[in-house]
């Protein structure tokens, strides 16, 4: 088989169906990545138009262009769209597109999950855009502080759009994060040990783990606030034992790491592109990895610096102030490692490099003002002024948008297959960069003169009218620049010449692929010996195309890929990937029913959607696995590997584990919120604590023992090729008993009586939800056993169910224990 025939055969196997139907059913990382980036760009344009409306309003004093009701929606949606609908999905799309090629694998770990995430993002975002067009968009600021965002300050449906739309979109962030972690850890070219991981992959691994640990607090907060708004459960209402500060904690525990979740992908692009532009390799790879991990961890210890003016004790503030300045150290390490890399090589001024220089000029300033606002007394003055607005635009535009534009122009041949011809990009560059600094540099000074953020008019005689006029002119120049970037890309897509392979002479594996990248990404999977495989062996792309790596011979029309050992990168097993499917978009649409039901208060839609989701999930999972034991298969180069379905811990087990990490953080946030209300909220203790009684504790202890032992009994029976029924039955009985224990809590409390009762309802609901998930999984496993999908070798699914079943038991023990704790001692 020659290279061309291999290409055609692999394209036939891996590509999506032609036409628009193909876009709806595709599960391919190239398609999904591009669609993510395309939709994110569309939201960026909408967010940008809102920004221009803001700048029009503030260009002259006492502008009557918009009244406060409209203006408040405009600035709230500008922030919300840029943070949730633009920044995160854009880098997720970029990552999905380039990461598999960089790692030398053929797709992301869970292709259908990628597609599901995409559609949740599209549908959830549409809900918010609908609210904007209908004039009922959220209007209490993008951080949604109650009571302003609760029924007291926002009686209308506006805030519900935010809470429900954003939570829907967050499904895509969580699913993308699970995928990125699993892909980086399990799917790499043979021999690519963690030590040889491309630096981009290290960054995205850290980012994905941060998403899994940072988003759950916000999801929890959104659920609590929506429950308060919809059912009067008083989590944030002080009269009934709630505390509005709880929202601020949950929100900023999310939103501070979020800043680094957005910056680190930018840093990943810089660390990848800058050495290529300087014709050298990255200085201090290990230092950068350590700095990135440190940044990821430290970023969770700084959230209080958004709350310096809420009246917390000064020594507490001092701790967070020190942590906030400390986080500048790993950032500094990266900045100086990049400058050192430039000194090591010979920098060339291509367009991506121009954007990197703009990054330095902008981000360093934003970092310096960031250190300033981390100093508590200065924060007391500048908090909620335009100094902060200017600061975070320097950080986010400088640290994210500029690097993404560097990445766009760097990887453009991958996306379009064409090399840039027209020089519009340079004009656009100067317009954007000069326009940006023209907009925001002087706004720092407006903030120091006392201009508060979110005011809807500029007062005459305030001293900041001229600054605002100049800022508006700069803003429009920047907008024209961004429009030119889009135009530049569009024109180049349409008319420029085809790109050759590896136009930048880079060393990482993604440049071994054709331009535009083929659907299968890698014609064969090469053996990797260093961090820059193409510098070791410039002939590698040709050898990959000739099928000299692993899986070079397409077989049986199957989407075949290799999974590797996490640390060493040795090939572990052969994975058959799912093909194009309509399931993801249907699943996303049915999931949407859940959210729309909440939004329009058609609560019957909620259980209907949940049942629908369970049915589709069963269908989804049923297509995996195999009805009989299969022999290990040759994968090329003399290597014979077992199938993933015959591993004790198949990729799905790892995916479940990473999803459970997010779940653990959710549970932790819930217990944190409970403890916070208990110790800080003014109107505690409640009139009465719930007494544990006898029935509940007996049910939970007995249920946990039964379910814990039952699933192990079933797994043991399967390992010995015996019938798993007794174990499965015990597990089932145990889970039902756990659910009953949670039911006793619901039966003995009134959901809207006091924040204590409301919290117990959420804890019990969380336990019941996990019990239902585990029950459905146990039933699924039973059906699989009946249908012959399980054996002593095909044990992976039983282990996945074991994870979820054990987790349900643990949250029941911990959660219900915490619910009964105060009542047991009073």
């Amino acid at each position: 088989m020659n290279a061309l025939r291999r290409h055609r055969e692999l394209e036939r196997i891996w590509s999506s169906r032609p036409g628009w139907r193909g876009k709806l059913t595709t599960v391919n990382n190239n398609d999904i990545g591009l669609m993510f980036m395309f939709v994110a760009t569309a939201y960026f344009v909408i967010g940008g138009i809102l920004a221009m409306l803001i700048r029009s309003q503030l260009a002259s004093p006492h502008s009557a262009f918009m009244g406060p009701d409209v203006y408040n929606q405009v600035f709230t949606m500008h922030g919300t769209i840029m943070m949730f609908l633009f920044a995160i999905p854009l880098f997720e799309g970029l990552t999905m597109h380039v990461l598999p090629r960089m790692l030398g694998t053929r797709d992301m770990a869970f292709p259908r999950l990628s597609a599901f995430g995409l559609w949740c993002y599209v549908f959830g975002g549409s809900i918010l855009i609908f609210a904007l067009l209908a004039g009922v968009a959220p209007d209490s600021g993008w951080f949604m502080y109650p009571p302003l965002a609760s029924t007291l300050g926002s009686p209308g449906v506006n805030a519900d759009f935010w809470l429900i739309g954003i939570t829907f979109v967050e499904i895509s962030a969580i699913s993308a994060a699970v995928e990125i972690v699993t892909t980086v850890l399990l799917y790499r070219a043979p021999g690519m040990s963690l030590e040889k991981l491309p630096i981009f992959a290290w960054y995205m691994l850290v980012v994905a783990v941060m998403i899994l640990t940072a988003f759950p607090p916000l999801i929890l907060g959104s659920i609590l606030l929506e429950l308060e708004r919809a059912f009067g459960m008083p989590f944030f209402q002080v009269a009934q034992g709630g505390d509005s500060l709880l929202w601020q904690h949950l929100f900023w525990i999310f939103a501070h790491p979020e800043v680094y979740i957005i910056f680190l992908p930018g840093a990943a692009v810089i660390s990848t592109v800058l050495p290529v532009m300087a014709r050298t390799t990255l200085l201090g790879y290990r230092w950068i990895v350590v700095a990135t991990v440190a940044l990821g961890i430290l970023s969770f210890g700084l959230w209080v610096h958004h709350m310096f003016t809420t009246g917390l004790p000064h020594m507490g503030l001092a701790f967070f102030s020190a942590a906030s300045t400390l986080v500048a150290v790993p950032t500094g390490i990266q900045i100086f490692a990049w400058i050192g890399t430039l000194w090591k090589g010979r920098p060339e001024m291509h367009l991506p490099m121009l954007w990197i220089v703009a990054f330095f000029a902008t981000f360093v300033l934003g970092g310096l003002t960031g250190v300033m606002v981390a100093i508590v007394p200065f924060n007391w003055q500048t908090h909620d002024t335009y100094f902060i607005v200017a600061h975070f635009h320097y950080v986010l535009v400088g640290g994210f948008v500029f690097p993404m534009l560097a990445g766009l122009y760097y990887w453009l041949p991958h996306f379009t297959g064409r090399k840039r011809y027209f020089k519009t990009g340079e004009t656009a560059f100067w317009l954007v960069v000069l326009g940006f600094h023209g907009t925001f540099l002087l706004l720092h000074w407006a903030g120091l003169l006392g201009m508060r953020r979110r005011i809807d008019t500029v007062e005459a005689g305030s001293g900041w009218e001229l600054i605002n006029l100049l800022a508006s002119i700069g803003g429009f120049a920047m907008a024209i620049g961004f429009a030119l970037v889009l135009l530049d890309v569009a024109v180049n897509v349409a008319v420029s010449t085809r790109s050759r392979r590896n136009p930048w002479r880079a060393g990482t594996l993604e440049w071994a692929a054709l331009s535009p990248s083929p659907s299968y990404n890698m014609a064969s999977l090469p053996e990797i010996r260093s961090r820059y495989p193409l510098y070791d062996d410039p002939e590698l792309p040709a050898r990959i195309a000739r099928g000299e790596g692993y899986l070079g011979e397409p077989r049986d029309g199957l989407r075949e890929n290799l999974a590797v050992d996490i640390s060493s990168g040795r090939p572990r097993c052969l994975v058959i990937f799912p093909t194009n499917s309509v399931l993801p978009i249907i699943m996303a649409a049915v999931t949407g029913g859940l959210f729309v039901g909440m939004l329009i208060k058609a609560y019957w839609l909620v259980p209907v959607s949940l049942v629908g989701m369970a049915v589709i999930a069963t269908w989804w999972a049923w297509t995996l696995g195999s009805g009989e034991d299969q022999d290990p298969r040759p994968v090329g180069n003399g290597l014979v590997l077992p199938l993933a379905s015959e591993l004790k811990r198949p990729p799905g087990w790892w995916g479940s584990l990473f999803l459970l990490l997010a779940d653990v953080v959710f549970m932790g946030s819930l217990l944190f919120g409970y403890a916070f209300l208990w110790t800080v909220a003014p109107n505690w203790p409640p009139p009465a604590y719930l007494k544990p009684g006898l029935l509940g504790p007996v049910l939970v202890l007995g249920g946990a023992a039964l379910s814990f032992g039952g699933i192990r009994l079933a797994q043991r029976a399967l390992r010995h090729d015996e019938k798993p029924w007794p174990g499965l039955l015990l597990n089932f009985a145990g889970l039902v008993s756990l659910g009953g224990a949670a039911g006793t809590v619901l039966a003995r409390t009134v959901h809207d009586a006091h924040a204590f009762d409301a919290t117990l309802w959420v804890i019990a609901g969380y336990v019941i939800f996990h019990v239902i998930v585990a029950v459905l999984m146990t039933m699924f496993l039973t059906l699989r056993a009946v249908a012959g999908y399980l054996s002593s070798r095909r044990i992976g699914e039983a282990n996945i169910v074991g994870l979820w079943s054990d987790y349900a038991a643990v949250v029941a023990l911990l959660g219900l224990g915490a619910a009964w704790l105060p009542g047991a001692f009073t």
Binding site: V357, W380, G450
Partner: protein
């Protein structure tokens, strides 16, 4: 009386000791940040103007020592430690410590008004104007009747939030008698832009008159 209108909300035109130390902190940080930014710029520009560089693991190890351990780690740590220490010192000075001369007032935020009461004049309530004595330390006990607000008179000191169910105490001080502008500085809905107040600092005679109920 409202000092130069364009400066009425300015952080860099302090009119009391609390605002003064923060303004000084700002100027120090501005000088430091400018110096660091220039350093980075120079290092960046120089990287483009150089010939062939030595390569190999030894040269890289040397570079890591200079760039990462030297600039990235040591330089950052020293600068940040010094700044954090300075910030902590300033923050401690601003704390509302008890003293014999401290005047206590209470500010209650509502949409979109401020209501002030006075420990030294029980029963006295003013709307939109907070009366204080000049040259004396004043503790403002801040709270709210509805959503979150923030009490901020920039020329007299920093801001502090008014949070339902909580009372926060802010220390302010005015050096000279006069009117000082104040605003609510936490977004609170449609009337936010116009949610203002005035801090009226009296001389000793004026303050006594206010306490006796002779000034409106």
């Amino acid at each position: 009386m409202l000092a130069g209108c364009t400066e009425s909300l300015s952080i860099v035109h302090p009119a009391g000791s609390a605002a003064e130390v923060i303004a000084t902190l700002w100027w120090v940080m501005l000088i430091g940040a400018t110096a660091i930014f220039l350093l980075v710029t120079v290092l960046l520009v120089l990287s483009f103007r150089r010939g062939e560089q030595p390569s190999g693991p030894e040269a890289d190890a040397r570079r890591e020592r200079i760039w990462i351990q030297g600039f990235g780690l040591a330089f950052s740590l020293i600068v940040l430690a010094a700044l954090t220490g300075y910030g902590l010192y300033v923050g401690e000075r601003l704390l509302p410590r008890p003293g014999p001369d401290v005047v206590t007032v209470r500010a209650e935020g509502a949409r979109w008004q401020w209501r002030f009461t006075y420990d030294d004049a029980p029963g006295r309530t003013t709307l939109g104007v907070l009366h204080i004595p000049a040259r004396r330390q004043v503790d403002v006990q801040i709270t709210t009747v509805d959503v979150i607000h923030s009490f901020w008179a920039p020329r007299l000191g920093g801001k502090l939030d008014a949070i339902p169910g909580h009372v926060n105490v802010l220390r302010i001080e005015a050096d000279t008698p006069g009117d000082y502008a104040g605003v609510s500085a936490e977004f609170n809905g449609r009337g936010y832009t116009g949610h203002r107040f005035i801090v009226r600092a009296h001389d000793d005679a004026g303050w006594d008159a206010f306490l006796r109920g002779e000034t409106p």
